[in-house]
């Protein structure tokens, strides 16, 4: 035991002496490993930062929310108001927000604008998106119930309809109905990515009216799109199951009559995609590591032939083949490990700089460091094995004669 230990120690000391005495060559040899590990560490760290960033954004945007798309069947295109009441009464549902959308021509006293996106929502939607209203007020429950003809404009619609004049209290006519402007929407409507994706940007801008009013206006009797908000995210699955049951019975168990999008499962999908991408990138970076490993192998083979006499002498002095092999193996592991450590430092530096530039959070990941250390040690063993084996099988006579 003590013999083994002292042998390890000696091999370690010898390796360091040898590596140090040819610094330049050793450095160039480990450069491949340095580049490979740097790439892997930087990629993993950056991807992890990006993942946590995306996750945070998704969480802010829509956990505890189920989006229902219900085109319905040929006989029943969408959900009736009774269905909505049923859904609203599912346990742990905090509120539902139906949405109706159409494109129409809007008219003010001074202008005529075509292609305005008219969205119908209820008060729950505004409660859930508090930053939506820039000036004025949001829609209230009363607006919905008594079908008040009130309207909120976004900045584009405001500009086109009122040319910068204060629109508050003024009127807008849509399909013969007169609406009173009660508020202006903020530009920072990025909180609802999904809504943005659904509504194509129209030139005329976007306005919001009570959905009940819009239903009357367009003659739509059924709702085909709504958001269901859950009181707490722990109930999401349970609510989704109840919702499923409710929708099935509403559409008589027809296939493809509805679709429920769970923001959390969307998040899971996103996570899976990001980690797949990380794996792919790490795989590509591993090629650099492979090339680095070949460099180490080459250097070790050169070292073995350069030190043939030394190997012969050590054998003459009583070194067993295994001990010679150990010494060269340790040397190659030290080489590639030192490359790995330099790579870890460089990789973390690169990803830190990236996080500063891209304004992402910087997370030092323990698994990335373990990956770097593990990879480089593995490369040292894998590519040092053959040269070390070659050294150990050298015939001491031939080795000593080569002087």
């Amino acid at each position: 035991m003590r013999k083994m230990l002292s042998l390890w120690k000696e091999s370690l000391r010898m390796s360091l002496t040898n590596i140090w005495s040819s610094k330049m060559r050793s450095f160039l040899t480990v450069l491949g490993i340095v580049i490979g590990v740097t790439a892997i560490i930087a990629l993993v760290t950056i991807m992890q930062s990006a993942t946590s960033e995306v996750t945070a954004q998704f969480t802010a945007m829509g956990t505890g929310r189920l989006v229902v798309n219900a085109p319905g069947t040929a006989l029943k295109t969408g959900l009736t108001l009774d269905d909505l009441t049923t859904i609203e009464n599912i346990p742990n549902v905090e509120g539902i927000s139906p949405s109706v959308s159409t494109t129409a021509t809007a008219k003010s006293d001074t202008a005529w604008v075509e292609d305005v996106t008219v969205d119908g929502y209820n008060e729950v939607y505004f409660k859930r998106n508090p930053e939506l209203v820039d000036r004025g007020r949001a829609l209230s429950r009363l607006d919905i119930q008594s079908k008040n003809r009130v309207i909120l404009l976004d900045t584009t619609a405001q500009k086109q309809l009122f040319f910068g004049a204060d629109p508050m209290g003024k009127t807008v006519t849509i399909q013969g109905q007169v609406f009173t402007v009660v508020g202006v929407l903020s530009d920072a409507d990025s909180s609802d990515v999904l809504a943005q994706a659904q509504n194509q940007d129209t030139d005329g801008g976007r306005v919001i009216v009570p959905y009940s009013v819009l239903m009357t206006l367009t003659g739509v009797r059924n709702i085909s799109s709504l958001s269901v908000y859950v009181t707490d995210t722990v109930y999401t699955q349970q609510v989704q199951d109840s919702l499923e049951t409710a929708l099935k019975s509403a559409f008589n168990y027809k296939d493809n009559s509805y679709r429920i999008i769970n923001m959390e499962s969307l998040l899971d999908t996103m996570d899976t995609m990001l980690s797949l991408m990380t794996m792919l990138l790490v795989g590509i970076a591993s090629i650099a590591l492979l090339v680095g490993g070949i460099g180490i192998m080459n250097m070790m083979l050169v070292t073995v032939s350069e030190r043939t006499t030394e190997i012969g002498l050590r054998k003459a002095l009583g070194a067993e083949p295994g001990q010679i092999q150990l010494q060269f193996l340790i040397e190659s592991i030290i080489l590639s490990l030192s490359g790995g450590i330099i790579g870890i430092i460089l990789g973390l530096t690169v990803s830190y700089l990236f996080s500063v530039v891209a304004d992402l959070g910087f997370v030092v990941s323990g698994s990335a460091i373990a990956l770097g250390v593990g990879f480089s040690a593995a490369v040292g063993i894998a590519f040092g094995w053959a040269p070390a084996r070659k050294a150990s099988t050298l015939n001491p006579i031939d080795a000593l004669r080569s002087v």
């Binding site: 042998l7 050590r314 054998k315 002095l317 009583g318 070194a319 083949p321 006579i397 000593l400």
Partner: protein
């Protein structure tokens, strides 16, 4: 009388050289008593290097038995041979064979590492050996800071470090000038006087004469005594 310290009987060594099977040693019988100082004298190509490799357990014979301290070395595997070389044989080479990156002390320490001694004991022992060969002042000099004679002294200290049964020297003065060579030979005589067995291989009769017994090797065969026709080689 049989001798279990060192006895070679019918040693034959053949090498495959291309298509030829060459017989380098053709039945060597040799006995060495403990404490003897023996020279093996022979010209190049006589098989003396091959004989030295077999004596030094660097190589095994094709045929024959070689008993060293009661064990038949011809039957041992690589690992066992390594252990024998470590404990029983101290090598001194013509070109010293010191590791250039290590100082004198670390060079002498080498065989002790493979012997499994603790570092403190190793350095103590190595220093003791270097003092003994008269290099007390040169413990931390590297080989390139030492003269040829000093380097060979370091090599001798290294050979003696593990207290081997046999000191095996291959042309120990071959790379030295005459005066230095003489000093090294005096050191050998001293070591012999202390009772250590020495086997020295050389082609130089003047050097061989430092030994108390000389055997000749010619064309793979041994011959006892100082034959006249070798004198011309000297």
């Amino acid at each position: 009388m049989t001798n279990d310290f060192f006895r070679m009987t019918g040693i034959v060594k053949r090498y495959q050289m291309g298509d030829d099977l060459q017989t380098v040693l053709k039945g060597i019988d040799l006995e060495v008593q403990e404490g003897e100082f023996l020279s093996v004298l022979g010209p190049s190509g006589s098989g003396k290097s091959t004989l030295m490799n077999i004596v030094g357990c660097l190589d095994t014979p094709t045929e024959g038995t070689y008993i060293l301290r009661g064990r038949d070395v011809a039957k041992l595997d690589a690992k066992q041979l390594a252990a024998i070389r470590n404990r029983e044989i101290g090598f001194v080479f013509q070109s010293f064979q010191l590791l250039p990156r290590l100082d004198a002390l670390r060079n002498v320490e080498l065989p002790l590492i493979y012997g499994g001694m603790s570092e403190r004991d190793r350095l103590e022992r190595a220093e003791e050996m270097l003092v003994r060969v008269g290099l007390k002042e040169k413990l931390h000099h590297r080989p390139n800071q030492l003269s040829g004679g000093q380097q060979q002294r370091v090599a001798i200290a290294r050979a003696l470090a593990n207290n081997p049964s046999i000191l095996l020297a291959d042309e120990p003065t071959g790379a030295l000038d005459q005066a230095t060579g003489k000093q090294v030979m005096e050191l050998f005589s001293q070591i012999s006087a202390e009772g250590r067995t020495i086997i020295m291989i050389t082609h130089d009769l003047a050097i061989a004469r430092h030994a108390r017994r000389i055997v000749h090797i010619l064309d793979g065969m041994l011959q006892e005594g100082e034959a006249n026709h070798f004198a011309q080689d000297a």
